[in-house]
């Protein structure tokens, strides 16, 4: 069923092969993406707006349908083993997914219970996450009464309730203040290091990607332009390793954009 993956080694946590997706208007969102992410890596997916990053995450987390291609997460086929994959991964997508009438603590406990924790376990886990995300003063508040940053923190905390092995973070720190961002990354990096959880992050904050991620992929207009280490990317764009990821990224994006303009003019 997965001829491509049968040849691959077992240390791979996320395997994506020749993934394609078209929008309803026919435009191609993903043009044959191949990616391999090893277990325990902190991997960031970069690209301009509309590049296809969120689409890719939606497909591999089964929230959207692919056109063609194969993908496995932790050896699980998400499309046919939904019960397994739901327990294996955690998702914090771009939009806050919160019940406006629910209270912070209640939502965390409910989420834990949904994922099979006992009442006591769910309560204990909720307290742990409330503390980790500095939400103690907000725990009895309805989510509709939370600030944007706190909503975001709760949204991310909910994705962690069931101790996922793989965490998909789609623009997770948008709307968070600098302190909240720092706290958030502390939690995520701890999870990554101490529990060997694999993190797949999409972000427009390249400083965060540079600081926390080990590896990256660059997608532009649905095409994979680079996959490897961040230091390797700097070499790839012929910049010194001391340059920031931000500079390297901008340099590359601009060169691609210039190249496209030249090609258009030639045509």
């Amino acid at each position: 069923m997965f001829p491509y993956f049968s040849k691959k080694n077992m240390g791979t946590e996320i395997s994506i092969h020749n993934l394609t997706k078209s929008y309803p208007n026919g435009a191609k969102a993903l043009k044959g993406i191949d990616l391999e992410i090893k277990k325990g890596k902190f991997f960031t997916l970069l690209g301009p707006n509309g590049a296809g990053k969120s689409t890719l995450i939606k497909i591999v987390t089964t929230l959207s349908q692919k056109d063609s291609g194969e993908f496995l997460i932790g050896g699980i086929n998400p499309e046919s083993e939904s019960a397994k994959i739901q327990n294996y991964i955690g998702i914090a997508s771009q939009d806050n997914e919160l019940d406006p009438s629910g209270k912070v603590e209640d939502l965390l406990v409910f989420q834990g219970r949904l994922f099979g924790l006992s009442k006591a376990e769910a309560f204990s886990r909720a307290q742990e996450l409330i503390s980790l995300f500095h939400l103690s003063n907000e725990k009895d508040k309805k989510t509709s009464a939370l600030s944007g940053g706190n909503k975001r923190k709760l949204h991310c905390a909910l994705a962690l309730v069931h101790h996922p092995k793989v965490l998909f973070l789609d623009e997770p720190t948008v709307g968070m203040d600098p302190l909240a961002r720092a706290n958030f990354w502390e939690v995520i990096t701890q999870l990554n290091k101490t529990q060997n959880a694999t993190v797949l992050l999409t972000t427009q904050y390249l400083d965060e990607a540079d600081k926390y991620a080990n590896e990256m992929a660059l997608i532009i207009e649905g095409q994979l332009h680079y996959s490897g280490t961040i230091a390797g990317f700097k070499e790839f764009v012929n910049l010194s390793a001391s340059m920031s990821l931000d500079d390297s990224y901008l340099h590359y994006i601009k060169s691609i954009s210039k190249q496209n303009t030249t090609n258009d003019e030639k045509r």
Partner: protein, 253 residues
Amino acid sequence: MNTANILLMKRAIIKLIKQPSAPLMGFGMSLFFLIVYNAGIGGIGNLEAFAGKGYLSFLFPIAVISLAMGSSSGAGQTLNADMQSGYFKRLYFSPASRWSLVIAPMVADTLSSLVFTAILIAIGALFGVTFQFGFLSVLGILLISLLWSFTLCGFSAGIMIRTGQYQSASIVTNAVFPLLFLSTTFLPRELLTSKWLLTVSWGNPVTYVLEGCRYLLVGTSEANYFFIALIIFTFTSFISVVFALSSSKKIKI
């Protein structure tokens, strides 16, 4: 049924208790029907066609029907609220089965409809509604109410999911509303003046609910109608569940 599914049911019920606008509206509507029509034309209950049982008992089934109609949009509204807030996506990506995301608010809505029907029955009994077979009549009416309510909730939830619009949750109520007037709602068939209305009424499933309930309440109708009503609404409940579940496959996240 796994814990996640039970939790979703519980959540739907708690939400309905906290935000009871839909069932309260249904309850208010049914009481309104009962009080206003009985006050306005209750005197006709003295006619022979009512077999000396009065108009209130005759009219009572329409209150039961309208109660479920008024509250049936609750399931669709709950689903819509979760979809609008994005929370539905979180529930969708939990170990709860996809069908339970849809069935849970339907069950909550139906239960609330049953509770309010029981209150309505108590109020009716207080004001002189008769129950031909005592407690069995009460159980029979609750059973019909359950099936009728489940039918409406299922279609309401299914349509809401398919259209994704808040307003569409009440489409079912609006669609069914005319059926209330194409039946023996206010008068027994002997007193219906138009033959076409009499003919149409026999093709109208609401007639079987009304007549079935009247058999249980005043005994002026035949037992057959009650059983036909059960068969029809067991079938429509089944269809509505199938419709709601097939709609759940069309959920776009």
